[in-house]
Structures are given as structure tokens and as C-alpha cells.
Amino acid sequence: MNYHWNWKIFWDLTPEGSGTYLHTLLVGLLWTLATALAAWVIALVLGVIVGVIRTTPRKWAGRFCNGYVELFRNIPLLVQMFLWFFVIPELLPKHLGDAIKQMPPPWASYVPAVLCLGFFTSARVAEQVRAGIQALPRGQRMAGTALGLTLPQTYRHVILPMTFRIILPPLTSEFLNIIKNSSVALTIGVVELTAAARAMQEFSFQVFEAFTGATILYILTNILVIYGMRWVERRVAIPGFIGPAVQAGGH
């Protein structure tokens, strides 16, 4: 293979004059984190609400939420990204659609990307919340009810505290996914880490170094997330409770 390796490329200045190539990648990483974290907040809030409603006795609300989950998990993420960016602004009332399209550069891409990732992931979180709630013994709900707790109180004080402990490991995977999936946002113009690596490759022609750099930054970020979530798992582990929450080990 006739390739000119140059690992020092990261310290070279870009022709754009915005700093070194390393700087380009790190700014990309920041946009990746900004996109993923904002979307994660949306995903958790909506996912918990939708997941909970699917387990309540309210039939029609449950059906609506089932439809929500199927809608957002059955359309490819890339297609959803295009829908949020190109189609939805056209469907909104004209002044609102125009306002979205005329947002200054990073935001016109960033906002639809965050919404897209947030809703997409919320469907997956909702499914895990539902599964976690249904994994609890039915008697737990009955015990709360029998003590006179209302349905919201039973969820808040009895069901959800255990559900979150049970679903922490799959939620960790979902958190990792949302960070990786944020790379799809490059298709609508968010210059996140993958887009930054591509820019670096196009200017410097050092394709291997550019994507090695991006790969390492993704891996380091996700390792941090994994350790953070394990710390959370240990913090909330219950003494004497044999369940997924205490089997967080492996290190």
C-alpha cells in the first residue's frame, strides 16, 4: 500500500485557519456530546412517560403510546433525520417553518438533529421502561395499592425506583447508542465528530489518521459513560437484593 503515514498531522494547522486538526476533531466531539446529551434528556423524559403510560390501565392512552413507539422505532434513523430537517418545517404553519429554516447556521441543523435523536431513542427507552415495569412481581403494585397509595404514588414510590435499577444496564447501552447515532446528524449539516474527521480527511488527505482519531475519541467517550453508569449502578444497588442491579461487576 502506497500511503504516506503522518501522525503529526493532528498538530498541523487547517487551511481554514481555525486551529489545528486536533482542535477540529475536539470541536466535533463537543458537538457530538452537545447533540447526544440534549437528545438523551428528551429520550429519558419522553421514554419514561410513554413507557409508564403503556403499563397503566388506561386503554386508549396505552394504545396511543404503543403507536408512538412503533412509529419511531420502525423508521430508519437516517430517514427520520431527513424528515425532521426537510419535511417537518414544511408541514408546520408557514411562519413557524420559516423561523426554523432561518435559524443561524449550526442551530438550523442542531435543533432538528436533537429532536430526531431524542424521539428516536425515546421509543427505545419507552420499550425498556415497559419491560422493566412488567418484570416486577405483580404483587408489588398490589401491595402499594392495598396500602392506599394512589396509582401515581404507587409508580413514584414503589414501581419506578425498582424499574430504574433493573433497566440501568440496557439504559447504558442506549446512552452509548445515542452518542454513536449522533453521527447521522452529519447528513443534515451538524459538524459533529464524524463530520469533523471527514473534513480533516478532505483537507489533509490523511484518511487513516483522521478516522483513527475519531475512533479513539468515540471509544474514550463511551468508556467514560460506561464507568459513569457503573458508578450509578453501584450507588443505587440494594443490599441483599438479588437482581440485575447488583450484578454490575466485571471489573
Binding site: 401491595a143 396500602l147 397509595l149
Partner: protein, 244 residues
């Protein structure tokens, strides 16, 4: 009116009838034992008393309040009816002390300190005051069930429902739970107990109800039931359960 009145209650799961025209009552201070083979509807019946299981026909009253009336404030009513489950159903993420005080604070609005004190008083009565800061998973089954009884008592219930309270316990832990229940009965608590512990029924019960296939087949005083049950089905059941 009796403390618990059950009148012509029927319940279906789809087309399958689990309860058929059940009628009985529990007077204040009375202890009745409900027994019968599995699938006879005894758990469903006791869960209907505090509306954990809805019924399609008939009427149930607790302390004069109709349970299966849409206008009844069920959480308020349930808070006055203590319930103990087969699988204890303590809340695993809360310590024993928190398990005891949670509903007192949330449902009865007691200040946390008062709820704690009251919970610990009952924990002491079931002999587990040393375990107050443990989590349910660190206790034996018998201990968990005694905490569950203390949790129900902390709400100052007007009557207590027990749904097979010893069925999930190792043999050597059954007695510690039965002793607590027996003490409760002698103190005058109104109790409806689903159990296969015929020794307990013989010592403590005022009346025994025998159920089979969703019917109340026998509703007799303890002496009558253990002396000579009228129905053949109850005779067979007793013969099997007493001479094994």
C-alpha cells in the same frame, strides 16, 4: 352491619367464572379462615374485599362502605384495611423502617417522625426491632412476613386480610408468623385469613369457610367444620389435609 359483608358476589375472567354467588360476612372481632383447593377462588375472594380484584356482580361492604361502588374513594378505604400477601411484597429498595412509614406518611399524612415511631412500635411487637435498618432482601422469609404484618398494622386498620401468609415460607418459619397472627387475633382484630394451616384454624378461627370451584361450599363454626363438615367435598379435603 358486619365489618365485612359479601353478598352474591360473582366474577368472571372472560367467560370463565371464578366466583359464583358468594355470600358471607365477618363480624367485628371475628376471625374467619377461608380454605379450599387451589383454583377454588379463595385468593380472588379475599382480594375482592379491598377491590384489588374487581367483581362483576354482587355487593361488598367494609365497615358499611360499599367497595364496588364507583363513587367510593378506594385509596381511603384500602388504607383502613390491612393486607398481607403470600410473597410478603415488602418494597425491596426501602429499609424496614421506610417500608413501615411510607404509606403512613403518603396516605395518612402523618409527619415522618410520628410515622417512624409508630412503625417501630409495631416492629417491636413482631419482635424485629433489631432489623429496622436492614433491607428486605437481608431478612428471612418469616422475618419479611412479620415486617409485612407490622407494615399493615402501622396503618391502624379496622380489619386485616391475609392471603396465604405462610404458603411461601420454609416449614420452620411458619410458626413465627402464625404466632404473630394468633396474638393479633386474641387482641380482638377482625381477620379474614386464606390459609391451609388447619392447626391455626382450629386454634384461632371462629368460623371456617370452605370454597370449591368458585362456590362457598361450607360456612360453618370451627366446631362444626372440624367435627363433621356437611359437604362431601369438604370432608374429602379435610381428610387429605389432616392425615398426610
Amino acid at each position: 352491619m358486619a365489618m365485612i359483608e359479601i353478598r352474591d358476589v360473582s366474577k368472571w375472567y372472560g367467560s370463565f367464572q371464578v366466583l359464583t354467588d358468594c355470600t358471607t360476612s365477618v363480624e367485628k372481632g371475628e376471625v374467619i379462615v377461608v380454605c379450599g383447593p387451589s383454583g377454588s377462588g379463595k385468593s380472588t375472594l379475599i382480594k375482592a374485599v379491598n377491590a384489588l380484584e374487581p367483581v362483576q356482580k354482587g355487593e361488598i361492604f367494609v365497615d358499611g362502605v360499599r367497595v364496588n361502588d364507583p363513587k367510593t374513594n378506594l385509596p381511603k378505604l384500602r388504607a383502613r384495611v390491612g393486607m398481607v400477601f403470600q410473597h410478603f411484597e415488602l418494597f425491596p429498595h426501602l429499609t424496614v423502617r421506610q417500608n413501615l412509614s411510607l404509606a403512613q406518611a403518603l396516605v395518612l399524612g402523618r409527619p415522618q417522625q410520628e410515622a417512624d415511631e409508630r412503625g417501630l412500635k409495631y416492629l417491636d411487637r413482631v419482635g424485629l426491632i433489631d432489623q429496622k435498618d436492614k433491607f428486605p432482601g437481608q431478612l428471612s422469609g418469616g422475618q419479611q412476613q412479620r415486617v409485612a404484618i407490622a407494615r399493615a398494622l402501622s396503618m391502624d386498620p379496622i380489619c386485616m386480610l391475609f392471603d396465604e401468609p405462610t404458603s411461601a415460607l420454609d416449614p420452620e418459619m411458619i410458626n413465627e408468623v402464625l404466632e404473630v397472627m394468633q396474638k393479633l387475633a386474641t387482641e380482638g382484630m377482625t381477620m379474614m385469613v386464606v390459609t391451609h394451616e388447619m392447626g391455626f384454624a382450629n386454634r384461632v378461627a371462629n368460623r371456617v369457610i370452605f370454597m370449591d370451584a368458585g362456590h362457598i361450599v361450607e360456612d360453618a363454626s370451627k366446631a362444626e367444620f372440624f367435627g363433621k363438615p356437611r359437604s362431601e367435598r369438604a370432608q374429602q379435603f379435610l381428610a387429605k389435609i389432616l392425615h398426610h
